[in-house]
């Protein structure tokens, strides 16, 4: 009551000077990159402390320093490259096949209504299939060697690339295509000089997803018949319940993921420098 009275009195009082309160605080996310490292460091530190004091049992999690040691040993013994080289080869070849096919088919779908009507339902049907489930089938089709591994990774990276590509082609500014036509550019020129460069940002963000999926599928691909490979190494560590090796393998896989992501970022910077 008193307040209300007071307020109504003040409302006419022009002698009171008060700065306008700042109410626009917060809700503006900024990037603080050190925070990521900090959280990472804290987690590792807590794990190290917990595992070395025994609060966290060795059955639950490995000691981070032991994991690091395992990685160093792996490196020193040369085994790291013995595992890494075939994995990277599988990743590169599989993803290359999947992504180049994906971009081609995606562009065809984007450009031609017959392809669109014919293939979009097929792609929609393939997309949600867990590709891992098809591994035994691929073994029969492509053999237990590298063929089935390439096929699995290729199929896994193919579908998201197709979808990203034709979406990107659809989103190319139609007035640019009209412009090309009005200047009498040939069909080939319009595709190569207008449609594909215009679709490139969308294709590249699709590439990010495709490569991440490829890494996930790498482990699955190496389930069958791989003696060497990071995925095989992780699976072996899992079956041996060797947590140090398991985490060493997972760490290497994460690093591979980060490397791939940095690669895509660099590629984007190079190809999309006009943005």
């Amino acid at each position: 009551m008193y307040d209300i009275k007071n307020k109504s009195n003040n409302s006419n009082n022009l002698n009171v000077n008060k700065p306008v309160p700042f109410i626009g605080k917060g809700f503006q996310p900024k990037t603080r990159s050190w925070m990521g490292y900090f959280v990472f460091f804290i987690i590792i530190f807590v794990l190290e402390l917990g595992t070395s004091t025994g609060v966290i049992s060795s059955l639950t999690l490995p000691k981070p320093s032991d994991v690091l040691e395992t990685i160093i040993q792996l490196f020193q013994s040369g085994l790291l490259f013995k595992h890494l080289v075939p994995s990277i080869l599988r990743l590169v070849i599989g993803a290359l096949i999947g992504i180049s096919l994906g971009i081609s088919i995606g562009t065809l779908i984007g450009l031609f209504s017959y392809f669109r009507s014919g293939l979009v339902p097929v792609i929609a049907a393939i997309f949600p299939i867990p590709k891992i489930a098809l591994l035994p089938l691929f073994v029969i089709w492509f053999g237990i060697g590298e063929g089935s591994k390439y096929a699995l990774i290729a199929l896994g990276s193919f579908t998201p690339t197709v979808v990203a590509t034709y979406g990107a082609v659809d989103n190319v500014d139609r007035t640019l295509i009209r412009m090309g036509q009005s200047f009498g550019l040939s069909w080939i020129s319009i595709v190569y000089k207008i449609v594909l460069p215009g679709a490139m940002p969308g294709i590249l963000s699709g590439l990010r997803i495709s490569l991440a999926i490829s890494i996930i599928l790498l482990v699955a691909a190496e389930m069958l018949g791989a003696e060497y490979g990071i995925g095989a190494y992780i699976l072996e560590a899992g079956s041996l319940y060797d947590l140090e090796r398991l985490f060493a393998g997972v760490t290497i896989l994460s690093l591979l993921g980060i490397t791939v992501s940095v690669f895509v970022t660099k590629l984007e910077q190079k190809i999309l420098k006009w943005r």
Binding site: D173, T175, M179, G180, K193, I194, G198, W274, R275
Partner: protein, 255 residues
């Protein structure tokens, strides 16, 4: 080269857009077309440029395009339509690449049009680095590069602020003065229409019919921003357009 349009009609589905259009575009002259929005101006331009086919009527080229013309009917778009991943120079080069021209010829054409549009210093800039006025200059340079028989311009200045518009208008007039070209200039801005047009065509609201054609004798180079001679034309045009514009406005609301 002249363009002659005879008894042209055009409709989309059942709605008629253009009705009984007859006109001639004269070589070396600028034809302004004005009309309320939605009356079919852009459609008419697309028909002239061959991007669409008229439902009935004829559009004929009389005479042949000038020597060295690479693209007879050449557009300049309202939103510039520059490729953002190409530099200024590469955007101009785009329209020459499909023609078998020697590198020296290409180079000299590019240099010439960039020079004429005062873009020499921006050859290597990307579109996103340029202001709206600069971008439209690039689009004009690109259009000039193909040495067109007819320039088809669909409200080329309407995406720009009024000062930039005035500057570009002056540049445009200079360009024409130094080397006259044939152009169809669509606008809804009456002062632009009277500044640039040798002839001004007024379209009614949809379906667009020609309701008035006026010619302005005063040389384009002599016309000014504030110009008593032009005022009377502008007033006259506004009197014609006033009712059409109001009706068109109300019509849109009823849709």
């Amino acid at each position: 080269m002249n363009i002659k349009i005879k008894n042209l009609n055009h409709s989309y589905d059942k709605s008629k857009v253009l009705s009984d259009i007859n006109l001639e575009i004269m070589d070396g002259q600028i034809l302004s077309i004005i009309g309320p929005s939605g009356c079919g101006k852009s459609t008419l331009l697309r028909l002239i440029g061959g991007l669409e086919k008229p439902c009935s009527g004829e559009i004929t080229q009389i005479g042949s395009p000038p020597a060295g013309c690479l693209n007879a009917m050449t557009y300049i778009f309202q939103d510039f339509a520059l490729l953002p991943w190409r530099t200024v120079e590469e955007n101009v080069s785009l329209v020459l690449e499909d023609h078998s021209l020697s590198n020296e010829i290409k180079r000299s054409v590019i240099d010439d049009v960039l020079d004429r549009t005062k873009l020499k210093d921006f050859s290597y800039a990307f579109p996103k680095q340029l202001s709206g006025g600069m971008k439209q200059r690039v689009a004009i340079a690109r259009a000039l590069a193909v040495n067109p028989a007819v320039l088809l311009m669909d409200e080329p200045l309407s995406a720009l602020d009024s000062q930039t518009r005035e500057l570009l208008l002056e540049d445009f007039i200079n360009l024409w003065h130094r080397k006259p070209f044939t152009a169809v200039y669509i606008t809804h801005n009456l002062s632009e229409a009277v500044r640039l047009g040798h002839k001004i065509l007024v379209l009614s609201r949809r379906p667009g019919k020609i309701i008035e054609t006026i010619s302005i004798e005063k040389p384009i180079a002599d016309r000014k921003l504030i110009d008593k001679d032009l005022d009377q034309y502008q007033k006259h045009l506004w009197n014609i357009m006033h009712d059409e514009a109001r009706a068109a406005d109300a019509e849109l609301l009823n849709v």
